[in-house]
């Protein structure tokens, strides 16, 4: 697939498509709307004291916590999201369409509401809170809560992306593989997942990025304890009140991480 894309991009003989010219105007405005704020952010960065600002103890703690929790919740998204996408795309059971809609709810839900919903489930007086407390665990306002909040908001990104790829790929190759004697698990591992690899990678990137930027649900469900639940976005919001320079410096750090993640996975996805 990617080879085809490269060929088209580098083919000097390719004739232009019949795109209406006026589309370029809103397209340029749209592009600027995304790029300009990022450039503006760059102009406000206090470059002289930058290193000190981003290596302060609270900043380092927040960065490490953010990377750890976002990585953990991305892994959790993969473990839960791949089977969920498979079942939604290929499974046959009553209520599948309803389940598909429900899984997408966190996409449209304000994150604060998501945080309250998680509190009602895992909080001390929540639906499962008492049963969990019997086991000697308390989820709310812990690092576990951060991971749960991030997974809650990030999971739909992976599921939507992967399910779309699975539907596009269809199941004809799976039928061929089965007729060659491959059992369902072998088919999944050697045919189904490799064929949707680009969709899986982009879904994973989206989920990681969403987990890294998660703010509202984390604040509501996990609070803001330095080194325990105060991730980078929370730290930035806090610093904005007291030290705007530090907030801008950390924001740039988050932008840099996002760019690196996208660049690395984009290169990996293209064989």
């Amino acid at each position: 697939m990617s080879t085809g894309r490269t060929t088209i991009a580098h083919d000097p003989a390719a004739a232009p498509t019949g795109l209406p010219r006026w589309t370029y105007v809103p397209a340029v405005v749209g592009g600027l709307f995304v790029v300009l704020p990022l450039l503006a952010l760059g102009t406000r960065v206090p470059w002289t004291g930058y290193w000190t600002l981003v290596t302060s103890e609270p900043a380092r703690a927040a960065l490490v916590l953010s990377l750890q929790t976002a990585a953990t919740s991305t892994a959790l998204c993969l473990v839960l999201g791949i089977p969920l996408a498979l079942v939604l795309a290929r499974g046959r059971f009553p209520g599948r369409d309803l389940l598909r809609s429900l899984v997408l709810v966190p996409l449209v839900l304000p994150p604060v509401v998501g945080g309250i919903a998680l509190l009602s489930t895992f909080g001390r007086r929540g639906l499962l809170g008492e049963s969990i407390e019997v086991l000697g665990l308390q989820v709310a306002f812990s690092t576990t809560a951060v991971v749960l909040a991030q997974t809650f908001v990030a999971l739909p990104f992976l599921v939507v992306s992967l399910e779309g790829a699975l539907r596009t790929a269809g199941s004809r190759y799976d039928v061929v593989a089965a007729s060659l004697g491959a059992g369902p698990t072998t088919v999944l591992r050697r045919v189904t997942l490799p064929l949707v690899w680009p969709g899986l990678v982009s879904g994973t990137v989206l989920a990681f990025a969403r987990a890294l930027g998660e703010f509202g649900a984390t604040l509501t469900f996990a609070g803001s304890l330095q080194g325990v639940t105060r991730t980078l976005p929370l730290e930035i919001y806090l610093q904005r009140e007291t030290d705007p320079d530090a907030a801008v410096a950390l924001s740039l750090l988050l932008v840099a991480i996002a760019v690196v993640v996208i660049a690395v996975t984009h290169r990996r996805a293209a064989p």
Partner: protein, 351 residues
Amino acid sequence: MTFTLTATVPSRGVDVTLDVPEGRTLALLGPNGAGKSTALGLAAGTLRPHDGEITLDGRVLAGARAGRTTTWVPAHRRQVALLAQDPMLFPHLTVRDNVAFGPRAQGRSRRGAGTAADRWLDAIGLAHLAERRPAGLSGGQAQRVAIARALAAAPRLLLLDEPMAALDVDVTPALRQTLQHLLDDQTTVVATHDVLDALLLADEVAVVDGGRVVERGPTAEILSRPRSAFAASVAGLNLLSGTWTGDGVSTASGAVVHGYASHPGVAVGAPMTAVFRPAAVSLHLRDPHGSPRNTFRGTVRSVEPRGDLLRVRTDQLAADVTPQAVAELALVPGRTVIGTVKAAEVDVYPG
């Protein structure tokens, strides 16, 4: 009897009974929508019968009574390989890994599966493409790799669904020859609407129409004395018998017919038959010099309508041509014409 199938699928209007003895090839011959693919789907395990039983080597693969499935072996445990008209090679695997897929999935070691794959690639003459990706193959090459992949899985029953339909006319004779060699001892069912496939690949033909088997028997018999309307409409191929000269078939009338043959063992002088369809013949009044074609001079015996075309019979062959061509050439019985056929459209086989 190795393979038996008796099944109805009312939703598709299909009610068929088939059987294939060990090592034999049965052709399901019929028009599109006749129920051939449904029959193959039932055998492969992609469709459930409403009523009936399917067995392979005495093992029941599927059984059903009045819509209730009583026995069901999933596709991957059937030892039934299906080859469709689209080769469906796994795009993310090399040619070798595609062919090694079956042995590997059935538990062979990586090395063992790779060796088996190389042997099959050798058999189809594409060993030099082992490291390529399917995207780098031509349609004919891809279909040959798909055949090797299906056979490498060592199926007890091989199903071919219109294996030539998606290919250029120029490469189908070569692929047919490949299949003819490879299917020698392989129990096979080939679904086709092309009488050439039936003639060259199958020992027996079952003519399917309207979801039912309307005629059944040895291929030569069905095609020479067709009783069903479909068999009659597809028969009428040009069959020219003669002896092998080393690079062509020398017929009784003295003509030498060049065609596609890959029978290394055939001795000069052995009986051979050249086959081509009437639609592959074009007619001329003068000899079209310098063309790499077979030419046959003959006298028009009859002209009769055949769908949108007219079938012109000469003393040697039949040609399907447009009414315009008949008018331009003023083809009436008694007139001398020259028929030409590209060598690539002629199949040559022993017998």
